[in-house]
Every structure is written in C-alpha cells, then in structure tokens.
Symmetry: C2
Subunit: 201 residues, 2 copies
Amino acid sequence: MEKGLLFVVSAPAGCGKDTILEQLFKTAENVGYSVSATSRAPREGEIDGVHYHFRTREQFEQMIKNEEVLEYTEYCGNYYGTPRKAVEDMLNAGKDVILKIEVEGAMNIKRLFPECCLVFILPPSMHELERRLRKRGTETEEKIIERTAQAREELKFAENYDYLIVNGELEKAVDDLRSVISAEKLRKSRRMPLLQALRNE
Amino acid sequence: MEKGLLFVVSAPAGCGKDTILEQLFKTAENVGYSVSATSRAPREGEIDGVHYHFRTREQFEQMIKNEEVLEYTEYCGNYYGTPRKAVEDMLNAGKDVILKIEVEGAMNIKRLFPECCLVFILPPSMHELERRLRKRGTETEEKIIERTAQAREELKFAENYDYLIVNGELEKAVDDLRSVISAEKLRKSRRMPLLQALRNE
C-alpha cells in the first residue's frame, strides 16, 4: 500500500489554526490528525485527547526517555511534542496525517520526514493578530505582549515552509488548505509509480 | 500590480483536456485562457477563435516571421502555436493564464517562463485512451493508431511536468486542476512579498 502524506501546519497563536483544522476535518476524507502532547495547562474548553494530550512535566519527560515522541520542543516554558506511534500507524495505513506543531518542531519533522509538506498560517496583519489575542480574553496583558513578540520570531521561520496561507476570512483559509492537500498529492514527484504503470501497460 | 501566473496544460489526444478546461472556466475567477493558433483543419463543431485560431500554413508561417507566436511546433503535420500578445497582456493585467499546448510547446514555454506551472493530464489507462479515441468517431483507424503511438511518446515528457492529473472521472479531474491552480498561488516562493510586508509592519 502507498504510504500517506505528512502535512505540518504551524501558525503563531491567534492565527486561528485550530478553527481552520476543525473546519477542514468536517469534510476531509482519509486525512488523520495527530493530537500533540503538552505539559501546559488546559485552557477553558480544551479536552484531553482532543485538543492535546495533557501531561505533567514529569510524565512528558518520561515519554521523551522512552522515545515515545517523534519530536518535542519547549515553548513559553512548556513542552510540546508529537506522539510517535499514532503518526506512523496512520501513514503506514495509507492515511494522510496533519500535525499541528510550532516552528521548531516543524523543522525537526522536516529533518525526520524530508518528503513532508509544511504549511504556515499567517495573520492578515500584525495589528489584527494582536486584536485577536486580546479578544480571546483568556490571557493576561503580559502574556499578550509575550505572544505578539513570539509571533514575530515565528514569522522568521515562515520562509522554510512550502505554502503560506493567510487567515483573513476563515472559509477561504480552509479552502486554501484543502487545495494544498489535494494539489500536493498530485505533484509529479509523488506520482511516479502511477506514470510508470501507464508506461508499462 | 502583481503579475498573473502562467499554467500550461498538456495531454495526449483523447484524455479530455478540452472538456476539463471548459468545465474549469465555468467557475474559475481571474483565470484567462489563451486560444492557440493552428494550421490543422477544424473538426466538426470547432469554432475559429474559440477552440483554436484556425490559419492556413502560409498565414501561420507569416505569424512566425513576424514573431507573433510565443512558441510553435509541428505535430502530426500541422503547426500549433501560442499567440504572444494575448498572453503577455493578461499576465501584465494580473490575470492567471492557462495555455493548452502539446509537450514540446510546453517545454519551450518553460524555457521562456521558468516560473510557469506545468500540468499533465493522464488517461486512467492506455486501453481506456484508445477506447475514447475510437468513440469520438471523427478519426480514421489509421489516425487512431497514429494518435495512440503519439500518446506513448508524449507520456515520456510527463516527468518534466509539475503536476500529473488523471482524468478518470471528469468532475474529480476538474477539481484537481482547480486545487492545483489555487495551491500553486500559495507556494512560499510566490508569496515572499506578502511575508515581507508582514515583517515590516
């Protein structure tokens, strides 16, 4: 069986990547989602095993020791990582997989899976990003300033990505991501077996 | 204004590229189509200026002399070429342009416009391709054999293309082409000005 394709989606906090992915999964066929593990505290409404696998620092460090995470990184004082087995199982079953991870994790995944496809979600403007962070109302002013500065740092990584999608209008951003997933599977480099089969006919 | 993007669509005869493009243009926004010029005789139902600009050999040779074609080639004994002015005008007006040209013409366009995007339409199988050519009923048996052999030759060029789309089911093939056009415009290499603007904000 042909292996699935690995997609990595990154975005600064407040760019709406969670909502985009939620919308995408309502209609996406044969695309699996890998839930990341984190040692950060759940935000209101976040469910363990759905938004993240929430673990204590000690539990997370044990996972690292046991090589149960594909990659991990520390971000704003918390661990974030990708559980290995779930991803490998889906890819081997021919399912495409989307990982939602921050920029350094994405670079690590690219090194592990050079054929993966990296997608970066951009805000329409930095001003709009700050406005969205404020609107959330879940963060202190100090955290908002920290996250805006962090966003600027993360933007530096955007040029290492394959695709840049602007989340100005949600429906358009979801469509764009859908197009990227469809098109990427049509790229010549990924379709050589099919071409070979036609030629041998 | 940002220039439009140039797409080249090629396919062996009988792969349904005309129908795919027809369907695409019913819904595509801001995508222009460049009508090729040819010295071959119109087939039943083909309209001058819509399917092709039909010209005599002498007229076509005059266009070549006047540098009015961007590229041209001879295929099955007839000239096929891309009128220069229409394409350049659309691109300069920020419109994406689709050229429907055969493989050698496509390679010439790639040399002239290295940033263009090449799409190859494949039949689901060689057997199915032959069946479709026969079904047309517009060609002699000799021509059908010639075109099938020609298709095998053209398939050799497919690996120089960026995307390979199989026309098994028409609606799926149209969707695939639509995804390619959308996604290609989201590629990082084409979005650096946008990223730069965000960083300078």
